[in-house]
Amino acid sequence: MKKIGLIVNPIAGMGGKVGLKGTDGTHILDKAIRLGAIPEAPAKTIKALEKLLPVRDRLLIVTCSGNMGQEEAENLGFQTKIVYKPKKTITDSNDTKLAAKKIKEEEVELLLFVGGDGTARDVYESVGNRQLVLGIPAGVKIHSPVYANTPEKAGELALLCVMGKNIAVREEEVVDIDEEAFRRDMVRTQLYGYLKVPVDKKFMQNKKAPTPLGEEATQKAIALDIVDHMEKEICYIIGPGTTTRAIMQALRLPYTLLGVDVVMNRKIMKKDASESDLLNYVNQYPSKLILTPTGGQGYLLGRGNQQISGDVIKKVGKENIIIVSTNSKIIELRGKPLLVYTGDKKVDEMLKGYYRVKVGYGMEVMYRVEGE
């Protein structure tokens, strides 16, 4: 019997229809309910689960009681195992976190969660990138590519996982926007971490050239290019991200995925450096800064790498910024520029212009960077 985990954030998406841009925080939820919001998540959960009906008899859904998964699963006739019971009728982010932890312990094939960026963050906090997960989109804010495009698509992917099909796995970003800023119509994402999600290989197929490199292979190729061309006595500041992580892995050095690491002469100088650490290094040594954009929005700076401040950048110099990105991230931007937001208007202005973005070994793309 195969096991699939399911967590439904029952209030996800309720703010959207009444124009509230997200439901993080209980006072917002109260307001949403007063404005007449009705739950979105159940219907979307059902759309996804329906795709699993062909394997219903071979499947156990490990989930939470009531409206956090049990109702939808049992309505469709799935066998369930309840491993978490929320204490209150109105659930909150803590419930998602606790549920995710419990479900992970059950060693499920895949953990499906229904919600938005906030839900993804909660799941990430509990399971990190140690569990294959997949988001069913229901929330108002969905910027994290850990969600399938539609609930149906999520269901189809889950079905492939259950059937033991050879599917590719990718680490995707968990990003969330600052809801306060969003309600004032500003979109500013923060990177919170990476979740491991299945991807449909169909979208990677290619008929004219038979060997498209996967995301990971591309990252490796980029990393080799960087490592092969590293200069001595230069201090390399490596920003957060999976693409930059590949550089640290190629160097066989310890790293932080979300932090900033400093490397010189192929040795680690500082892991998870703070702004003052960085200032210290850039004042002492000629330095280069290696950055990679967030998926979707293309933030290079100002999305969880505040350590790399305006002062650090001024000292490093625009010409010493190296941007790395897989081609697929560049394509996802659909022509929109890469963005910088350092908090220092003058620095943002100075950073504008065209850069050579490294997309493979000896492969670069000319791309525009702009302020927010």
Partner: protein
């Protein structure tokens, strides 16, 4: 002639299905196709047994692992396979955009198969092969006229090899000018063919790609920022694979020339430009045509292709040896190229292909070539207009303007509306005896289709193709399941594509297949 109207109809087609094993599996030990008679005694006396003269070190120890099958079975095998393919001469070949799948006149095949051609040997004395040398020479003259270049070589066996040859010339040129190490970058554009990046990369060049601007033209500002004293050359197609022609191309090539780089034109997309624009006036130092596309010779499966590579005067010395010259009433092979990059293919390339291309050019004349371009562009824009009439179909860039000879469409809206992707539709098209191709990877245009009708199809053919696509787009909205489960009338059903990008799972030969499956 009175005819029954079929306007409302899509074709009722079914592909043959034979479940035919591959030829190695058909082998039966001891089964024979031909028993080669032993040489008669008298002959053996004079020339020996034909084997013992072979040096011991060159003799193979084991027999080759060739399949053993009788003649009839071999014939059935290949006829069945041929029925299971969607032959270019059977279907309305519009779907293989960027490949210029035009009609290959059968009379030219006939000419190329005449013994006057097939009995030639490339090592024959020049004086005995004047005819084919004349044809190569005259095809060169035609190509010069079409492009404005000063000399052509027909040695490359296809477009990608021609690009590789251009990259080799670029390297040699900068070496001769003492700048080989300094100039280590080439610039290309996203919508040029991937070989324009890949071939220079195999020559060791770093490749910088220019993205399109909002109108789909290569972003000029980005280009200005990319050109420098490190630029070795600019490799570009125009029109690009989107069918968008960059009218400012001369500004691009001027910039590169000023910076000391060379301009290399991928003219594999020339079908809409014959007699309209030329490489020389656009500021290029080199260009190539694909004989197997624009000049009507068959693609790969119908015999080797041909990349006709032309250069300006200053670069003639760099061409692969030999080129064909004419002096004192005689054609000759000219090896006197002192900066030549060497050879990219044996002898003189593929003369049969040159012969077919020459026959095609001469049957059309200058006016005919211009007519080809006009009809190809007209066909394309007719198809373009008709397809955009359907809900869910679009084509990004230069809205309201014409395309040249092809268009890269997007089904993004249709996919959003219906959940049907372009790959799903590509499978369904098979059910109507047609096909289409999506695009190069990665998909810069989401949910792409690339269609290029060429001058070949009649209006009736075009209408059938359009009707079929409209029919399938309607299905996407009304009955998506039929597309999801397609093909229904093809040789094979949906295949598991999960191993396509995993080299561990590939078996390019029978021997590899045996090795990999034995290990399992």
């Amino acid at each position: 002639m009175k005819r029954i109207s079929r306007d409302h109809k899509v074709r009722n087609f079914h592909q043959a299905k034979w479940d035919e094993p591959i030829i190695f599996e058909l082998s039966n030990e001891g089964e024979r196709g031909i028993l080669v008679p032993e040489a008669e005694e008298e002959i053996v006396k004079v020339v020996g047994d034909g084997v013992s003269k072979i040096p011991e070190s060159m003799k193979r120890e084991k027999l080759p692992n060739l399949p053993e099958i009788n003649q009839k079975r071999v014939l059935m095998h290949y006829l069945r396979l041929s029925q299971e393919t969607l032959g270019g001469d059977l279907n309305i070949e519009i779907g293989q955009g960027t490949c210029t799948m035009k009609y290959n006149p059968k009379i030219n095949e006939y000419i190329a198969r005449m013994p006057e051609m097939t009995e030639l040997h490339p090592l024959q004395d020049e004086s005995t092969v004047q005819g084919i040398l004349e044809i190569i020479y005259k095809t060169d003259l035609c190509m010069r006229e079409i492009s404005g270049m000063d000399q052509f070589t027909f040695q490359p066996g296809g477009g990608s090899q021609a690009i590789f040859t251009m990259a080799s010339i670029v390297r040699k040129y900068h070496r001769e000018h003492g700048e080989e190490n300094q100039r280590d970058e080439i610039i290309t554009t996203v919508y040029s063919h991937p070989s324009d990046a890949a071939a220079p990369a195999t020559k060791g060049y770093k490749v910088i790609t220019i993205m399109p601007d909002e109108e789909g033209y290569p972003d000029y500002e980005a280009f200005k920022n990319a050109v420098s004293e490190r630029t070795a050359a600019f490799f570009v197609a125009n029109p690009e694979d989107t069918g968008v022609f960059n009218p400012r191309i001369k500004e691009f090539t001027d910039l590169v020339r000023k910076a000391g780089g060379l301009n290399c034109y991928d003219q594999a997309n020339a079908n809409g430009l014959l007699g309209v624009t030329r490489a020389k006036e656009a500021g290029f130092d080199m260009c190539f045509f694909n004989l197997h596309k624009t000049f009507s010779t068959p693609h790969g499966c119908g015999g080797p292709g041909g990349g006709a590579l032309g250069v300006v005067k200053e670069l003639i010395d760099y061409l692969p040896k030999p080129i064909v010259g004419f002096k004192d009433g005689k054609y000759f092979l000219n090896y006197d190229l002192d900066k030549s990059i060497g050879k990219v293919r044996l002898f003189n390339g593929v003369p049969q292909t040159v012969l077919k291309a020459y026959a095609w050019i001469m049957s059309l004349g200058a006016e005919g070539l211009y007519e080809v371009a006009k009809v190809a562009v007209l066909n394309n824009n007719y198809l373009f207009k008709k397809l955009l009439e359907h809900k869910g179909v679009d084509a990004p860039y230069i809205r309201g303007k014409q395309r040249v000879e092809q268009v890269r469409y997007t089904l993004e809206k249709l996919a959003e509306d219906t959940g049907i992707s372009t790959e799903d539709i590509a499978r369904r098209v098979m059910d109507f005896g047609m096909h289409y191709w999506t695009s190069h990877h990665p998909y810069y245009v989401p949910e792409p289709i690339t269609l290029e009708p060429t001058e070949t199809p009649s209006k009736e053919d075009l209408d059938e193709y359009i009707r079929t696509l409209h029919h399938i787009f309607d299905e996407a909205y009304e009955n998506p399941e039929i597309i999801k489960n397609a093909p229904h009338r093809s040789t094979i059903h949906k295949i598991d594509e999960s191993s396509f990008d995993d080299p561990e799972k590939w078996a390019p030969t029978w021997r590899v297949y045996l090795r990999k499956t034995e290990e399992e």
